[in-house]
Each structure stands twice: as structure tokens, then as C-alpha cells.
């Protein structure tokens, strides 16, 4: 049996009614995802605890490296020009956690449907199939915004981090970063459908962020070839721009080069995600492998 595609035929235009229908489908998928989230409320515990405990290892290590007389910290400040190493680490680890959670969450959205045995039946619904990835991404984005807010409050309460920059600029930077983060997640989700087992690839991608983007150190400390790799990763720009906006009072014009780079990365990853999704869909339908797990 073949499933019917909702791709528009050449010359065919989506009607207003059709667009409204797609919007309804998107909301329905997002609502279904939200029901899953509510069904397993243990994520609330993770939401409250991980923002504190993940940076803790780096923060306490930095404290140990500073020494009781702060001589190590003086070296760090002289080398990096950054006095607030707590805020520096807190922002770096939060960006890393954001990408990590998106890879596991959005990246496995279709794969989870395969496990549950519902992907094939959903696929037959007369709607745009990309909706099945956009819906979970919306819910996920809402969860991550709460996560970031909780993180910012907890960093202040537990570690004494003071974000003295412009909060509107930080929100803008999160908004321009989101397409890159979720574009990568969507591309990943498409690949996972035919790779099936992708845990090692998640480790690899998040490992790249951890090694090259400077979650706990300035990338100026990396050897030249590693700095060249870092230039091609959007998380490098996210960490630098958010740190500058939140900790160093950078202005919009200071941040413009990073914002433009992030928008470029966002467009690239979203396009790559969509193309990969379409390719995966065609490949899976031809091979009849969409329901296999």
C-alpha cells in the first residue's frame, strides 16, 4: 500500500482553508506532545535540578583552580579579560544543555513515534508531514524557555551570578539562535528515522559543541586549527553573543556580526533540516521502512 503525499502539484496553490487546516494540525500535534509532557511530570524535577548541578562541576573546578589566594583567577582574568567566570560558565553550559536537550527531544521525535508504532498511521493523515516535527519543536521551545528562565534565577540564587546586561538583547539573541538549534534538531530527527540507532551520533554532535565552542573557557585558548573548526559552529556565536549581552553590557551594534552569523546558520540548518526530511520521507516510503523499528 502506498500513502498519499500532500505535496502540492505544480501550479497548485494552497487555499486559505488549507492553510487553516494545516495550522489546526500543527496545534493538534503540539497538543498531543504537551499531553506526553504532562503525563510524565518528572521533567519538572529535571528542570529545577539540572540547571544547578550541571554547571556545578565546572564552577567548583574553576574555584579549585583559582586557589585560596585567587592567584589562578588573576591568571584567568589576565588571559581572557573576563572577571565573572561564574557567569561565563553558566551561559556556556546553558547553551550546551539547550542543544543537548533538543538533540534528544526533537531529534528523537519521529523515532519515538516509530517505537510507539504510531508513525505510519500518522503519516497517512491528510496533512503536511513536516508538521509532525514542527509540533514537538514548538512544545520543546516553550519548555526550554522556562528552563532558561529557571536557570537564570537559580544562577543568581545559588552562585551569585549577576546578569547586568540588557535582558531584551538576551531575548533577541535567544530568538535568533533558535532556528540554528532547532534546525539541527530537525535535520537530526530525519536522519534518525533511517539510522534507527543514533545515540552515538548525539554524543558526537554534542561533543563537538563541548570541545570547540568554549563552554567553560574562551576559544582563544584553543590551537589555531580548533579555532577554525569553531567558526563553523553556531553555538560558538551564541555563547559569545549571549555572554557579551548578559555580562559585558554589549550594545545591539556590537552584537550585529554575531546576529547576522546566527541568522545565516539558522537559515542553513532549517533548509538542511527540511531537505533531509523530504529525502528521508521519500526514501522511507520507497523502502516501506517507515514503520520499522
Amino acid at each position: 500500500m502506498t500513502t498519499t503525499s500532500r505535496a502540492l502539484a505544480p501550479g497548485q496553490v494552497r487555499t486559505a482553508e488549507g492553510v487553516l487546516g494545516e495550522w489546526g494540525a500543527l496545534l493538534a500535534v503540539a497538543r498531543k506532545e504537551w499531553l506526553y509532557v504532562r503525563r510524565y511530570p518528572s521533567w519538572v524535577i529535571s528542570l529545577l535540578i539540572w540547571p544547578v548541578i550541571f554547571p556545578l562541576a565546572y564552577i567548583l573546578s574553576a574555584r579549585a583552580l583559582s586557589g585560596p589566594d585567587q592567584s589562578g583567577l588573576a591568571l584567568f582574568i589576565a588571559r581572557t579579560g573576563i572577571s565573572d567566570y561564574l557567569g561565563f560558565i553558566a551561559i556556556g553550559t546553558t547553551v550546551w544543555m539547550w542543544q543537548n536537550v533538543v538533540l534528544w527531544g526533537v531529534g528523537f521525535a519521529l523515532r519515538n513515534e516509530q517505537w510507539r508504532g504510531t508513525l505510519e498511521t500518522n503519516w497517512m493523515a491528510p496533512t503536511w508531514r513536516f508538521t509532525f516535527l514542527l509540533g514537538p519543536s514548538l512544545v520543546h521551545l516553550a519548555q526550554m524557555l522556562i528552563f532558561m528562565l529557571v536557570s537564570a534565577i537559580e544562577f543568581g540564587v545559588f552562585f551569585g551570578v549577576r546578569f547586568n546586561g540588557n535582558p531584551l538583547l538576551v531575548i533577541l539573541l535567544i530568538a535568533v539562535s533558535a532556528p540554528s538549534v532547532y534546525g539541527l534538531g530537525i535535520a537530526f530527527a530525519s536522519v534518525v528515522v533511517w539510522l534507527k540507532e543514533a545515540h552515538n551520533f548525539v554524543q558526537m554532535v554534542r561533543g563537538l559543541v563541548m570541545i570547540f565552542c568554549g563552554i567553560s573557557f574562551p576559544i582563544a585558548l584553543l590551537p589555531g586549527w580548533m579555532q577554525e573548526v569553531a567558526v563553523f559552529l553556531p553555538q560558538t556565536y551564541m555563547m559569545r553573543a549571549i555572554r557579551s549581552a548578559a555580562l559585558a553590557n554589549a550594545t545591539l551594534s556590537d552584537l550585529m556580526p554575531d546576529i547576522i552569523a546566527l541568522l545565516g546558520f539558522g537559515a542553513f540548518f532549517l533548509a538542511a533540516g527540511y531537505i533531509l526530511f523530504q529525502w528521508t520521507e521519500r526514501r522511507a516510503r520507497r523502502a516501506g521502512a517507515i514503520g520499522q523499528y
Partner: protein, 285 residues
């Protein structure tokens, strides 16, 4: 008609040993069935180590962390962290893997049938760690070699004494691992809690920094964990670091911990396992 009789199997130490080796052999085959996992197991610690290394460099002069030395007694930060990482691999293998292995058996639907064999249950549990311990040893040796080449690893103390000091710590952890396995039998899932607890235990027992450097209000958390003294003693012997207590005292504490945990672990396991069998929930997941 002649009645054919079959003797009941006689359970001896030899049969126990056979069961132990068979469980280990099965795990060994399973591990190598997915060779990418083996590669990933080596790569993963290197990935975690890299930002720690560069962060250490930011606080150091010519690779020597003098601020760190004021707490730990060594300027060699990366060797300190590497030893912590290798020890943590062993701790995870024994501490948590017994329970996780049982969860995998539950999910695969083989736990109940394994339980029906005439092998002692603790043997089945310990058998699940033999392959992990061997793999951990191989991977740790590879990690020390690769990380040593990339970042530098310079043990200045007695390697054999450090390895011997690890033994009571590891054996004691078996007791905890067996008790944890019993909890998994009862709860049938504990993933998110375990994830957070194992991370916190590794942070506070001093995997990446000495307990002496913790803020005063957090130090008691580290000092009540027996693992802290195990890590401390091994580093003291291997890297000549400044220890919290004299090394013989720390090793003595580990030996007492070993006896206590084995007794407690087996007792908890026996009680919970009986309860689970009475409730008939062994096959559920």
C-alpha cells in the same frame, strides 16, 4: 516398563563459577556486537576531558596550576582529573551497572527465565559486572594512553599501591550495587533519579577537584561520601597529592566500608527479592 530417572543437578562451587563465566561471556558477545559503542565509550571521556583541560590551561602558567596546588598539593591538574575519571569509570561500572543490567533484562523479558535457573542470584548480578570491569580496564588503559599523549599524564607515585588501594573501594561498591539492583527490582525504573544522583556523587566525591577546595557549607556533603576517601587515597599514592587524612587511615576506612556494604547489600537484596517474588512482579517492567 523401565522408569527413566534424571538426577537433580548438584550445585557446587564449580557450577557457580560456570554460571558466572557464562553470564560474562554472554555480555562480552553482546558488547562486541555493537563495535561503534566501544569506539564511543573511548571517545566520550575524551570529549568531557577536553573542555576541562582547556579550562585548566586558562588558570595555569606553563601547564602548572599553582592556585590548584594550594588545595591539592600538585600543580598537575590534568593528571588529577584523569585519575578521577578512570576511578569514576570503575565506580559507575559497579555502583550503577548491576541495577541497569537488571533493568535491561526486565525490558528484554529474560529476567524471569534467568531467575528460574538454579544459579545463586548474587552470582547472576556479579556476573553482569565481569565483562564491564574488563571493558572498563581496557578502555581506561586506552584513555590514559590517548589522553596522556594529547594532554599529558604524569604519575609520580606508586602505581601498584594505588591499584591495591582501589580494591576495598570497588568490593565495597559491589554491596551498594547489589542493594541498588534490589531497588530496581522493586521500582522497575529509576533512570532520571539515577542520572542526577550519579552525577552529584561524582561531583561531590571529588572527581574533578579536591574536597578541600569546596565552600565550607558544601564540604560536609563531600566528607560523608566514602568514595571521597577512596579517590583521595588513590590520588595520594599515585600523584603524591595532599590527602584529607593519612593514607593508611583512609584505606582502613575503605576496608571497613567494604565489609559493611557487602553485608548490607546482600541483606537488602534478599529481603526485597523475596518481596518481589511474593508479589509476582518479577516479570513486569
Amino acid at each position: 516398563m523401565a522408569v527413566k530417572t534424571f538426577p537433580l543437578p548438584v550445585i557446587t562451587w564449580r557450577t557457580h563459577l560456570n554460571a558466572l563465566l557464562m553470564v560474562a561471556k554472554k555480555d562480552w558477545q553482546h558488547f562486541w556486537r555493537y563495535p561503534l559503542n566501544a569506539f564511543s565509550s573511548l571517545l566520550h571521556p575524551l570529549i568531557w576531558l577536553t573542555p576541562v583541560y582547556f579550562m585548566g590551561q586558562a588558570f595555569s602558567v606553563d601547564g602548572k596550576a599553582h592556585g590548584f596546588a594550594a588545595y591539592s598539593g600538585t600543580t598537575d591538574y590534568i593528571s588529577f582529573v584523569l585519575v578521577g575519571m578512570v576511578l569514576n569509570n570503575y565506580v559507575n561500572t559497579v555502583f550503577w551497572n548491576i541495577g541497569f543490567a537488571m533493568k535491561w533484562d526486565m525490558d528484554s523479558g529474560v529476567l524471569e527465565s534467568n531467575w528460574l535457573t538454579p544459579a545463586a542470584r548474587p552470582i547472576l548480578l556479579i556476573g553482569r559486572t565481569l565483562t564491564s570491569l574488563l571493558v572498563t580496564t581496557l578502555l581506561s588503559a586506552a584513555l590514559l594512553l590517548v589522553a596522556g599523549l594529547l594532554f599529558g599524564f604524569r604519575p609520580t607515585g606508586d602505581v601498584l599501591a594505588a591499584a591495591l588501594a582501589m580494591l576495598p573501594l570497588l568490593i565495597g561498591l559491589y554491596g551498594f550495587g547489589i542493594a541498588f539492583a534490589a531497588l530496581v527490582l522493586l521500582m522497575r525504573d529509576a533512570n532520571s533519579v539515577v542520572d542526577m544522583t550519579s552525577y552529584l556523587v561524582s561531583v561531590f566525591s571529588g572527581q574533578q577537584f579536591p574536597a578541600q577546595s569546596l565552600p565550607r557549607w558544601l564540604m560536609p556533603v563531600s566528607l560523608i561520601l566514602p568514595l571521597t576517601y577512596g579517590y583521595d587515597a588513590v590520588r595520594g599514592l599515585l600523584l603524591n597529592t595532599r590527602t584529607l587524612l593519612p593514607i593508611p587511615v583512609e584505606v582502613g576506612m575503605m576496608t571497613i566500608f567494604m565489609g559493611l556494604m557487602i553485608w548490607l547489600g546482600l541483606r537488602v537484596f534478599n529481603q526485597i527479592e523475596r518481596k518481589v517474588r511474593q508479589r509476582g512482579t518479577l516479570g513486569q517492567h
